[in-house]
Symmetry: C2
Subunit: 349 residues, 2 copies
């Protein structure tokens, strides 16, 4: 029998941030695909769409008019999953029926007044404006006594449940720390107690030794396909300096964050010459007043496409019932993304 | 402020099987949907399709001919994610890069020779044939010394990554117990140690008191929308008698299992008058030679549709980064499913 080899043989990898394993089946990438084909988003959009509830000046569901904003614009989600004034409620029937009232805030952030742009098509300066809003929002919401966690994220593309192509993201901020950030807190704390350094600082140092999984870097940020990536082209954006949250980034680091997001998302669009769908979001320390020195700010990108603009990875059956599974290796994905140009494919036309 | 009320106010519920919380936002079901519409599967299919690699007599990817099977038919997946002969391999770089070779078996189970049927359109006798195959397969694979867990599942519908409409399911059986069954093992063991009864036996007893979340029952099985359901119409199929795995079911219980699957999936198809997509699968004791008396066999159904045959729930952004979230309550979903007829909508035409 041949020697074990990560590029050919099925294996499991460990995600130290969540404390969970996942399955890698590199030999399976040869599988032909006869299932559902996605509809790539080829629409040509106008810079202003009179029917879009996010465009400047237009009317939203609640009857309000958006201002004639020129950069970013933030408002309370008209159909938020979280609400501020929820009466206290707590149920516990024999440990089997357990529920707790949850309160919080849902906001929408328009990234640009331009209906026809996406992050990779915006300038570094414009993306820096988005980073600044993330900082302000984290500061403002995190300071509220009833908010102990602030989730900033973006769903991009119809495939990712995004209902409006106008470039925008969301914030869900709430009383309880939700599942994944809570697990990441436990894992990072345990690592910090043992090593006196953050898990992600040590992990980053390790990755920078081989650069096998590194996609793109600048002075302050590194993007890599984590060793334990579940989605085909999943990436992790890491600041070189340990910070617990986005408010601690210096002026220069904020611009570097905008730069790295731009360079990563351009590569994503170039991969399959399509507006690359993803869900992406920041993970930061809980805003419960604790210091959380074990926390290391990072941003996850979870994109579903696998082979082309029309063939995605389905996280179904085995993945929903057992654990995450991928076909291409993290190393292969990193190499593909690394080799792509940083000029947007549409700019070249 | 009004009193807390599960039907109106956001809250979190606890999943005792996984030990994880999820978010319920009942007020959000009023949200209009302007995003992606799914393509309902309206194709009329022939009983035999000469181009289908699962139909009797046809040629598969590896050049083999399927037999002229008349009931069920099992074969090794030609593009399995797991392989039997994987050389040993183990990596651990500072606890941050951890990987282990994984070995196992992937199989496909054709449920019927008829290309145009699905479980809800098959007779109880025919579904009983599928249950019998699950029993045989669990027995055979579970007895192999290198296989410590057997995941039996079905992906139904193109929306759930199923690449061939011919009715079929899969088995992935492997050396390591994967994530969710491993968590369920921990949770069920802890409960059993404390109460001397299985978690799901006590939970079932509790649900049978109010029947608020019960969908359908027969002498040996109960289907309910679990209190902690994440997917809109998620259900849990539970045997009334505690068994650790499917081989322990009596002859009568096997038929009752087939009956309840039929009655549940007919209701699913009737809900939106469409061939209802889902991923479903059995959770059973690990086959590691231990007794696992704390384990309670069950079957999960995870269906994505939310409002109609064309509007699904997206588990994206917040859900991928934070935790599972749903809009309609488990109680509402159970009531909807309970009120549906048990005659398949196509049979009435
Ligand atoms: O094995 P299939 O049916 O080709 O593939 C389908 O089910 C598998 C197991 O859930 C998933 O890993 C794939 O993403 C999905 O497309
Ligand atoms: O809030 P939106 O954009 O209407 O909705 C989208 O993002 C939410 C947060 O990830 C999800 O809960 C929804 O399923 C998805 O469709």
């Amino acid at each position: 029998m041949a020697e074990f080899n990560f590029n050919d043989h099925p294996h499991r990898r460990f995600n130290p941030l969540l404390g969970e394993w996942m399955l890698v089946s590199p030999q399976r990438s040869k599988r032909p695909w006869q299932g559902q084909q996605e509809e790539p988003d080829r629409a040509e959009r106008p810079a202003y769409d009179p029917t879009c509830y996010l465009c400047p000046g237009n009317v939203r569901a609640n009857g309000e008019h958006n201002p004639q904003y020129t950069g970013t614009f933030v408002f309370d989600n008209d159909f938020a999953a979280l609400q501020a004034d929820v009466p206290a409620g707590d149920l516990n029937v024999e440990g089997l029926l357990q529920a707790k009232a949850e309160s919080g805030v849902g906001r929408v952030i328009c990234f640009s007044p331009r209906h026809d742009l996406t992050l990779p098509e915006m300038s570094v300066e414009a993306i820096r404006g988005v980073v600044d809003v993330w900082v302000e929002q984290f500061q403002e919401l995190g300071a509220q006594p009833d908010i102990n966690y602030v989730q900033i994220f973006e769903n991009k593309g119809f495939m990712m449940g995004c209902s409006n192509p106008h470039p925008h993201g969301q914030i869900w901020a709430q009383r309880h720390v939700p599942g994944d950030p809570a697990k990441e807190t436990v894992q990072q704390e345990a690592y910090y107690r043992e090593h006196g350094k953050t898990l992600l600082a040590d992990y980053l140092a390790l990755e920078l030794r081989t650069k096998e999984r590194v996609v793109v870097e600048n002075d302050h940020f590194v993007v890599l396909v984590p060793f334990w990536a579940a989605w085909p082209y999943e990436t992790l954006v890491l600041p070189r300096r340990v910070v617990q949250d986005i408010t601690q980034l210096s002026d220069e680091e904020r611009t570097a964050f905008a730069d790295i997001i731009r360079r990563l998302t351009i590569r994503y669009d170039n991969l399959f010459q399509t507006s690359f769908p993803y869900s992406a979001g920041l993970h930061q320390r809980p805003t419960d007043g604790q210091e959380h020195e074990s926390w290391h700010l990072h941003m996850h990108f979870y994109p579903p496409l696998l082979r082309s603009a029309t063939v995605r990875k389905f996280m179904v059956g085995y993945e929903l019932l057992a654990e995450a599974q991928r076909d291409i290796t993290a190393e292969y994905a990193a190499q593909r993304l690394r080799e792509l140009p940083e000029v947007h494919y549409k700019a070249k036309l």
